[in-house]
Chain length 454, copies 2
């Protein structure tokens, strides 16, 4: 085998990077659990027809085929082809339908898994990446207050990562009812066409959007102008509602959407001050959202795009007459981690879990070192034994190269004939007892800390 090269779009980290990623995943998981979300994992594959049914991103799906399958042989007993899931919402909706009788609603779950999209790789856009999703799903109905709660879960999760070096986040929130009510109140009834046009605002600018609105949604100049004025409204508090009303458009759905958006923004002002912003330009690409929609930007890293998006959906899971409306958000973990690592915003204090390397006096005394290591591990101190009974200087050098902070010397290695432990950073060496010694708390496990660039 010649030395292989990385595959574009399939990121991998060195161990120190994986330590950072695991730290972030542990933190997300703990936050989700503190809010009462149960863990769930779904299989990585879904029948292709269900994947294609659920979205417009069919060209991004990876299809599976067994290498030795007979031509035309299908991949499951149902005779259907299988594809890798491209998000965690579609499999979750399927899981809820499949297990509805065994779940209690509203059902709260989080799910942290890889997803795959055959897109052209770019910075922060991968073909294989990890998402961390939280959703609440009701049977038949789902009260609005969950649209208030979900962004607070994320604000709690991401806010708690500030001391790791994560920059502040800004969640942009809108409500589909505001947009749809406003367009209908204006007399524009092809709402998807208007949404599609407005969604291009950042990319093509207001002039081109006005042209699109005219061409594809039949908007006159005054209607197009009003749509652009709506999209320009943004506020960190409830003041946005007055600015929308000042545009003079009236529709019951607009009123309902504004009231809902005010509740989201006001609850966030209490529980997560400074995080949420009502931004009436936010539309979200996928078209199954029906209420509040969310996007999240990292301050100073807006070029990265949204690191956490989602919204309220009503029609994703449906079996016969029964629907399962939900609201959820998805953190783009790989996108976040790649930026945190790529810009040295966050770093692990060492690339190994090991706290202590036990030196070996001679190969025939390795068992003594193994016993010391076992005693330290029993007390929760991560320990490994030196690879070879080399000169002690070389054993210390091995610890140094691996990033292990302490080297333990068995009695046979010390002049005094007792156990000693050396902090190889300071060079300080002191007597120690394998059943009593403890390292400083900060050294027990690798820490994840703000990186060189703060």
């Amino acid at each position: 085998m010649s030395r292989p090269a990385p595959l574009s779009g399939f990121p991998e980290w060195l161990p120190a990077g994986r330590i950072v990623e695991l730290h972030v995943l542990d933190h997300l998981r703990r936050t989700f659990e503190l809010w009462g979300f149960a863990p769930l994992e779904t299989r990585s594959v879904e029948p292709l027809d269900q994947l294609l049914h659920a979205g417009e991103i069919d060209k991004e799906v990876y299809v599976l085929r067994r290498l030795q399958a007979a031509p035309g042989e299908a991949e499951d007993e149902g005779g259907r082809r299988l594809g890798l899931h491209f998000d965690l919402t579609v499999p979750f909706a399927r899981y809820v339908l499949e297990n509805a009788g065994r779940l209690t609603f509203p059902f709260r779950r989080y799910q942290i898994q890889k997803v795959w999209r055959g897109e052209r790789p770019q910075e922060g856009r991968f073909r294989e990446f990890t998402q961390a999703d939280v959703d609440v799903v009701g049977a038949g109905e789902l009260p609005f207050h969950y649209e208030v709660e979900l962004p607070l879960v994320i604000a709690d999760a991401l806010g708690g990562m500030r001391d790791l070096g994560l920059p502040p986040v800004r969640m942009l929130v809108n409500n589909r009812k505001v947009a749809e009510g406003f367009y209908r109140g204006l007399g524009l009834d092809d709402v998807p066409a208007v949404l599609r046009a407005v969604d291009k605002l950042e990319k093509v600018g207001p002039g081109a959007v006005a042209d699109l609105l005219a061409a594809e949604a039949g908007a006159g100049p005054a209607q197009a102008k009003a749509c652009l004025e709506l999209a320009a409204i943004s506020a960190p508090d409830a003041s946005f509602a007055e600015r929308v009303r000042a545009l003079g458009v009236h529709h019951p759905m607009l009123d309902e959407g504004l009231a809902e958006l005010v509740r989201v923004v006001e609850a966030a002002a209490e529980h997560a001050p400074g995080v949420l912003v009502a931004d009436l330009r936010i539309a979200r690409g996928l078209d199954y959202y029906t209420g509040t929609v969310y996007e999240t930007l990292l301050a100073g890293h807006e070029d990265l795009g949204s690191i956490c998006s989602g919204g309220r959906y009503d029609t994703l899971a449906r079996a016969g007459d029964q629907t399962y409306p939900g609201v959820g958000l998805s953190v783009g973990v790989s996108r976040l981690i790649s930026r945190l690592l790529g810009r040295d915003l966050v770093a692990a204090s060492r690339p190994v879990p090991t706290c202590v390397l036990v030196a070996v006096v001679a190969e025939d005394q390795r068992a003594d070192s193994d016993r010391i290591a076992a005693a330290l591990r029993r007390r929760g101190i991560a320990t490994e034994v030196a690879p070879a009974a080399a000169k002690y200087g070389r054993q210390i050098q091995h610890a140094q190269r691996r990033g292990i902070p302490f080297v333990w010397f068995p009695p046979a290695a010390t002049p005094g004939g007792g156990h000693e432990v050396r902090d190889i950073r300071s060079g300080e060496q002191a007597p120690a007892d394998p059943v009593g010694w403890l390292p400083p708390v900060a050294d027990i496990w690798p820490q994840v800390l703000p990186g060189a660039v703060t």
Copy 2:
């Protein structure tokens, strides 16, 4: 969408099962870290040519194709097709080659991920499943003592799960040098043919193996008899070595292998008494092993097959003249979990992380309940707020159905006008303070305990 059915071979658990699985994964991870193994995650895909190069299980590989790819269009820039990895050893070997300059050797890593094999599903055999691997890899050389250490890591990891309800495990250990030296000492030089025949012992019995040895390895009756006698030797201590020597076969490689196997068994007798057994029948299916090989059976569940296998390998990773010999073991997590859950050996104390449900007095007082929940979460108590301001009896019933042990009543809900918390299992209700109350330690998080069948 009609109600979907499960896909055979792609297991999924209910939330209570996932809680058990996460508990097991957390325990494995912590044990591996205590032994100084660094976390690693590799991408799920490898170029197909590398997957096929590494093993004889080509027909089990899932190949990927982008749904909208042009005919003949390859899946990466190198023009190569991609497949899902079928184990974690092959991707690890590739990762080591790719990153050798940035790793310190001997390099110790663990890796817990999904793998995929397009095999016919059976009990305990899945098409998608989770493996937890530990390996040590050296640059150019790897001292034998790692073959002693690795099974101790696994014995520690699996032994520590006894109090969850895991039955005792028995690790069967052999050494390729014992087998190869013995066969060569007997005059049988087509070692792979002998290994393949002996590997069928359990399936076809000694008579058929003797026939196979004659037909495919050219063994005479005395040679075949000796091979079968070797395979029948098994002992929990070093006594196996005498029994092998009593067969009267001599070869330097046999002596080396016996000495190594004695060291493995004796170290295990000290550090993990009762777990390891030398079993000279063990061969392992994959043919890249060169030294110690391991299989692990669950007492009373031997029908499940091995739940943790591995061995010493020397030629898996090689770039030019540089080789990276290693030794590793892989826990079949999905196989283990499916048996633990399927036979009720282990259970979660509740199917939600939530410890407290805060009741809601009226929808316009929901914010009060949200504040109580936030205060509890800040102190690490997993809390959710009732879905609706229903009658308190119904709110308690909701907690009951979800498995939440405590319901919190805000002041406006209690006769005395103070906070109260109710243990819904005992019905006991008492005054409590949101900034001071703590649940019993056993209730803070779901516990994983031996199930009904012990």
